[in-house]
């Protein structure tokens, strides 16, 4: 079977230069990544910031050499045959500020289309059409420096789609977009893939809902490793036998530590997030009966149960089950390490 994207034991290590006194150190950004993405598939890479998603995209788009393993895009080795990969791909990153502010939206897009060898007639037709699709046609002659972040991102999205690549990479494409614009972009992304079975789209996101809504298959990635790869429904189905509860309880005020729940029988994961005046607990339990132990612990500590809700599993729950922490917690810890 021909794959649109395939990686085999792919790895990337960065050498980080130390200061004058410190030794250089290495950072393992990707480790033993094995992925197979089929033509016509909308494939999602889901993981927190710093998980390695962008590094993987950089390798697949020929911008970064792998230090271990191999990767093929559209059948060509990205490290050895970049000149064959490049005409077949395009990429859009969230929050990018590419192009030139003195040029209009149309001129910027036309310029990038020329780098892919599109004739001006076809380029202008596609630009006009895609700008209509993303709702930016009224700004076609506006200088790109006059666009808001969201409108600029829409322009970038048009830039990626207008060359009709075989494989399109979208790195956090809805970053910086408001809710409505994100929804419109997601709709267009899905329709673009559905419209032609030879098109493949790889999307990275750290928005669970985006991955769940859009992707045919999702790989959950953390600390440079793929932890699971399947359809969103299959990933969630593995949690079906678990009971997932959301509890809101009165403030702990030092009488209780959330880690105490983790030692209770039948409790798989606990995510604790203090709120304004109350505490929120998200629990993954092996079975519903385990909830009794949680409630007893709350009662013993004079904590009142304010709200109890049983939830259907989400990709967030899948991530928590795999990593042991929520994506938010992983990102917070990553930020703390960096600071």
């Amino acid at each position: 079977m021909d794959f649109a994207i395939r990686t085999e034991k792919l790895g990337r290590t960065y050498k980080i230069r130390g200061g004058k006194k410190s030794e250089p150190r290495t950072l393992l950004a990707l480790n033993d990544i094995n992925l197979e993405v089929y033509p016509g598939e909308l494939f999602g890479l889901l993981g927190p910031n710093g998980a390695g998603k962008t590094t993987l995209i950089k390798i697949l788009t020929t911008l970064l050499a792998p230090t271990e393993g191999y990767a093929w895009v559209a059948g060509f080795n990205v490290a050895k045959e970049p000149e064959k990969v490049r005409p077949r791909i395009n990429m859009v990153s969230g929050g990018e500020s590419s192009g030139y502010g003195l040029l209009t939206v149309r001129e910027n897009l036309w310029m990038f289309s020329q780098f892919y060898g599109l004739s001006s007639t076809v380029a202008n037709r596609n630009i006009k059409h895609l700008l209509e699709v993303v709702g930016l046609s009224d700004r076609i002659n506006a200088k790109s420096s006059d666009l808001s972040t969201g409108l600029r991102q829409k322009m970038n999205i048009v830039r990626g789609f207008m060359t009709d690549p075989d494989v399109l990479f979208l790195d956090e494409p809805t970053l910086g977009l408001d809710v409505g614009a994100s929804r419109e972009v997601r709709h267009f992304i899905r329709s673009w893939v559905d419209d032609d079975p030879t098109r493949t789209l790889l999307l990275t996101t750290h928005y669970m809902v985006e991955a769940d809504e859009l992707c045919d298959r999702v790989a959950i990635i953390n600390q440079g490793r793929v932890l699971a790869c399947d359809t969103p429904s299959n990933l969630k189905r593995n949690l079906q036998q678990d009971a997932i509860f959301h509890l809101e309880v009165s403030a702990f005020n030092g009488t209780l530590n959330a880690s105490r729940f983790e030692g209770l029988p039948g409790v798989c994961n606990v995510t604790h997030s203090p709120q304004d005046g109350f505490e929120a607990l998200d629990l993954i339990l092996e079975e519903e009966q385990a909830l009794a132990g949680v409630v007893n612990t709350l009662t013993e500590s004079n904590i009142r149960l304010l709200n109890l809700q049983k939830n259907e599993p989400t990709l967030e729950d899948v991530f928590v089950k795999l990593v042991g922490q929520s994506m938010e917690e992983v990102e917070q810890k990553g930020d703390e390490r960096e600071s």
């Binding site: 020929t62 780098f115 209509e132 699709v133 009709d164």
Partner: protein, 300 residues
């Protein structure tokens, strides 16, 4: 844009031909020399068209250099220097525009493109970086020629400069070769600056005024010793300017550094060396950047 709340069935809710244009039999894309040419033109476009939209260039690129030219003109008149020296200064003032362009808009450009996020898109595209740089150079050359012509016209009118062109063919050859060599040097520097990253800014600052001095922008370079002038000739504008002055002013040949044919030969050699070096440097920079992951690591 129409919105459908079920993302799995959006096609029918989008405008009917929402994705048809790009889907129509997949697009035909040029490659080879056609792609190269398209890239050159497209990358030149922002400079040929976009840069003219910011009208402040008339002040910064024409009036400010004219002030420096005026200062030298008044000094030469005060000391009663030969009248052709006035013309030397005007031509030199016009040529400073090219040096400024190469320094700030050519050499530093790849670094700024990286910071802007464009460089990754250039490299990821099927076009060659050489075509991108060539487009950048030609666009810059065009825009700067407009500025240089404006300085020459204004300077000639204000200070009553008299020209006596001996050979238009040689003048064209000198200008053409000086520009090829100069922008070739800019292309080499662009790769070099990219490797230096932020330090490049200091090099540009450092290179600006000394080159004005050693390349003889405001006086004949012959006033230096032979070896200083020879060393300064590594900057193509030194010989280009000297040859042009010899060709357009009556007293030019007597104040020239070396003969015009020899200067044309050296400029031709410099052109080949710089363009060839640019190609090598660019390939090296691309390889190194991809290996080390520097291409997309801007500080934004």
């Amino acid at each position: 844009m129409n919105v459908n709340h079920d993302p799995r069935s959006t096609t029918q809710m989008l405008p009917q031909d929402a994705t048809q244009t790009v889907a129509a039999g997949r697009l035909t894309k040029n490659s080879g020399w056609k792609l190269h040419l398209q890239t050159v033109i497209a990358r030149a476009y922002p400079r040929v068209v976009g840069q003219q939209r910011e009208k402040s260039w008339m002040f910064f690129d024409i009036l400010l250099p004219m002030l420096a030219v005026s200062a030298y003109v008044f000094v030469y008149r005060a000391i009663q220097a030969p009248e052709d020296y006035i013309g030397f200064v005007v031509v030199g003032g016009a040529m400073t525009a090219f040096w400024m362009n190469v320094l700030w808009s050519m050499s530093s450009q790849l670094y700024w493109e990286k910071e802007q996020g464009n460089l990754a898109l250039f490299i990821m595209s099927p076009s060659s970086m050489m075509a991108i740089l060539l487009g950048m150079a030609l666009g810059g050359l065009f825009a700067t020629t407009l500025r240089a012509i404006a300085i020459i016209l204004l300077g000639s009118v204000f200070f009553n400069v008299r020209y006596a062109v001996t050979s238009f063919t040689q003048l064209f050859a000198v200008f053409f070769l000086a520009m090829v060599a100069l922008y070739g040097l800019g292309m080499v520097a662009a790769s070099f600056y990219l490797l230096l990253s932020r330090e490049a800014w200091h090099i540009s600052n450092l290179a600006q005024e000394p080159i004005y001095l050693f390349s003889g922008f405001y006086f004949p370079v012959k006033n230096f010793s032979f070896w200083v002038s020879a060393a300064a000739s590594i900057i193509p504008l030194t010989l280009g300017l000297d040859a042009m002055r010899q060709l357009v002013f009556k007293t030019g040949p007597s104040l020239g550094f070396i003969s015009v044919p020899l200067e044309i030969t050296v400029l031709a050699i410099l052109s080949v060396i710089f363009i060839f070096s640019a190609r090598l440097m660019l390939a090296y920079m691309e390889r190194l950047s991809i290996r080390e992951g520097r291409l997309t690591d801007s500080r934004r």
